[in-house]
């Protein structure tokens, strides 16, 4: 049993970082990620952690210095949002190829333009192709636990890839919730210490990291990266089992909520999953068989497990908090792909919601369920929830 604290999602991330006590934290402030960095800076200022904290001059340098620290042998962490992620994109994309298991919080925020500081997933959906492990969190509790989990998954010798732990800007990052913080000593034992095997600071064994690789070898590097990504599933399960021993919880690739006999299922990431659960309960109370699936591990994407979980669902609505202009929305695309192999494919509908922080209500998700149950779906055209007429 842990101790319950009333904290925000940002503070929950900082709590995880306090317990991890990384060697190095590098960050640049950006709304709504800033309270993570501020909270952690207080821990540094009060000597609660002995991390070397580097407050840099931009997100590009934030990820660059995090990469430098991690390559040097440190366990290094960072955090960002939206424009910050966009600015550091070049280095974010370089990190998996360097096989550096950096763990970073991403507080999801809409990408400019127009400028907007509120939640959507357009930031993360722009980096899902570059090779980071992507983990999503419904609430502050999950933010905390996912960060602990991510450290171990990323650093596993079979993986050695960076991981991003997502939480919704403001909705999760700034809302106070009760969060159960587990025993410091147990958590520290769980996260352990990063191996110095590949460290640049091991000067007795000089290594050249990040060389120029031409067409004769580049392809093999990328193939090896994919191989490492495919190992994440088994490692995630193993590490999840270990973390369960502390928390008593399970760490599945995704969460299903009342889907067993569901005649319609809604798929939704992060905080809106909580709203969807309330909508499911309201519908169930009316005798309507509906359920929800919340992806947690989004990269690598667990296609087979998703397919198995949804094989009996007659109709599925996928709610995306970002768009891929001129193409199917990102989460919808993955679910279409996952379900293609089924003998009896479900009807599907894509919905866009909540861009730029627009609220989504339980009544709106209930309306989605009604639409799905009515059979009036059009898999070729996405629909918009809560958009001005």
């Amino acid at each position: 049993m842990g101790v319950k604290k009333a904290i925000t999602g940002a503070q929950a991330a900082a709590e995880a970082m306090r317990q991890i006590n990384p060697d190095v934290v590098v960050a640049y402030p950006i709304t709504p990620q800033t309270p993570i960095v501020e909270q952690f800076a207080e821990y540094v200022a009060d000597g609660i952690v002995d991390t070397e904290m580097v407050p840099v001059e931009s997100e590009h340098s934030a990820m660059s210095a995090t990469v430098g620290a991690e390559a040097a042998g440190a366990r290094a962490m960072s955090a960002t949002s939206s424009q910050g992620l966009a600015l550091m994109w070049e280095i974010v994309a370089a990190t998996p190829g360097l096989r550096l298991p950096i763990v970073m919080s991403l507080v999801n925020r809409a990408l400019s333009a127009p400028i907007n500081i509120h939640c959507d997933h357009s930031d993360v959906m722009g980096v899902t192709t570059v090779g980071w492990i992507q983990i999503f969190s419904e609430n502050a509790q999950e933010v905390y636990e996912n960060l602990l989990l991510a450290i171990r998954v990323a650093e596993d010798p079979r993986v050695q890839l960076p991981a991003m732990v997502n939480q919704d800007g403001f909705i999760t990052s700034h809302a106070v919730e009760p969060v159960e913080i587990f025993d410091d000593a147990l958590v520290r034992k769980f996260v352990g210490v990063r191996s110095l095997d590949r460290a640049l600071l091991d000067v007795e064994h000089p290594k050249s990291v990040g060389p120029l690789v031409l067409p004769d070898y580049y392809f093999e590097f990328k193939r090896a990266q994919e191989e490492a990504m495919s190992k994440v599933f088994e490692v995630y399960r193993e590490v999840g089992t270990e973390l369960s021993a502390i928390t008593g919880k399970q760490y599945p690739f995704f969460e299903t909520y009342r889907t067993d006999d569901a005649e319609a299922v809604v798929v939704v990431l992060n905080s809106a999953a909580g709203t969807a659960k309330a909508a499911v309960d309201a519908m169930r109370a009316q005798g309507k068989k509906v359920g929800m699936l919340k992806p947690i591990l989004f990269r690598p994407f667990p296609y087979a497990e998703i397919r198995d979980a949804l094989k009996d669902a007659p109709v599925i609505g996928v709610l995306d908090r970002s768009m891929d202009f001129g193409a199917y929305a990102p989460v919808y695309t993955e679910f279409r792909n996952a379900l293609w192999e089924l003998d009896k494919r479900p009807a599907m509908q894509s919905y866009i919601y909540g861009l730029g922080g627009r609220d989504i209500m339980t009544t709106e998700i209930e309306a989605v369920f009604e639409e799905l149950l009515s059979g009036k779906v059009d898999p070729e055209h996405q629909r918009y929830i809560g958009l001005r007429g």
């Binding site: 060697d23 190095v24 590098v26 002995d50 991390t51 070397e52 580097v54 407050p55 840099v56 001059e57 931009s58 590009h60 340098s61 660059s64 210095a65 995090t66 990469v67 430098g68 620290a69 991690e70 390559a71 040097a72 042998g73 440190a74 290094a76 070049e90 280095i91 370089a94 360097l98 210490v193 110095l196 460290a199 640049l200 600071l201 091991d202 000067v203 000089p206 290594k207 050249s208 990291v209 990040g210 060389p211 120029l212 690789v213 031409l214 070898y217």
Partner: protein
Amino acid sequence: MPTLQEIALKTSGADARIVSGHRMCSGCSIGPLIKTVLAASDKPVIVLSATGCLEVVTTIYPFTAWNTPWMHVTFENAASVAAGVEAAYKALKRRGRIEGDVNILAVGGDGGTYDIGFQALSGALERRHKFMYLVYDNEGYMNTGNQRSGATPFGASTTTVPAGKVSFGKPQWRKNLVEIVAAHRIPYVGQAAVHNTLDLYKKAQKGFNADGPTVLAVLQPCTTNWSFDPALTMLYSKLAVETNFWPLYEVENGVVHINTKPSNRKPIEDFLKGQTRFRHLFKPGNEHVIAEMQTMIDDEWARLLKIEESGIQF
């Protein structure tokens, strides 16, 4: 201070920090430059390279010429990567996970320093990470075939600002990097030239040993894109100093000291002649460009002398 022979011994053989087998152009001055700088460290050195000639020619996978820990990430972030390495070094040392001391060296060309890496450099200097930043300045994007940079001199023809019927090449003067970095109030900045090994070595030593961030700017004549006879690399470096085009000086704890004062400074034409990038300046109608260049060099030199004489701290 070691002799030239002693430095030569430190820069060659299997124990050298960078070894033969790299792919530098014949006559390239990066080799002697980086060897001399690395030899000046009395501790193990971790090198962080920006994208550029040095990175490309020393590491094409599966080979490496580096016999010391080395890393490259991208073009504009060598200073930020070095900052991260320094942070890791401090943290791991404090936690008793590593022993011994190291020097941290970030290296970039002028493109990766004056231009795209400028913000990262300024940030790292301001935060006072203990590392040395070495810029090998070949006055343009030479790795990719002579494009204009903030270090390209007035009048030079580059592929992005070529000389033409209505253009004499670059119409702007170059950035004064040494003064800009000195304005960060860092403990040491040196401007050196590759032909003067002892001066370069001494400055590298000061840079490594100072308490805080330091910058070493070294002119790196490029045989390929300045287009001169590869046998003349050291001569062009020497001419750059003898014409006051590239004065050898340093700013130590804010105080300027000029290391070499040519008794009879040579006319700038002596440096320009034989370089393809300046060939057009010797055509009729462009005399004014050379004249203007000479005036600027003389004015800059006079200004530098005044700063030195004044003793005023940067």
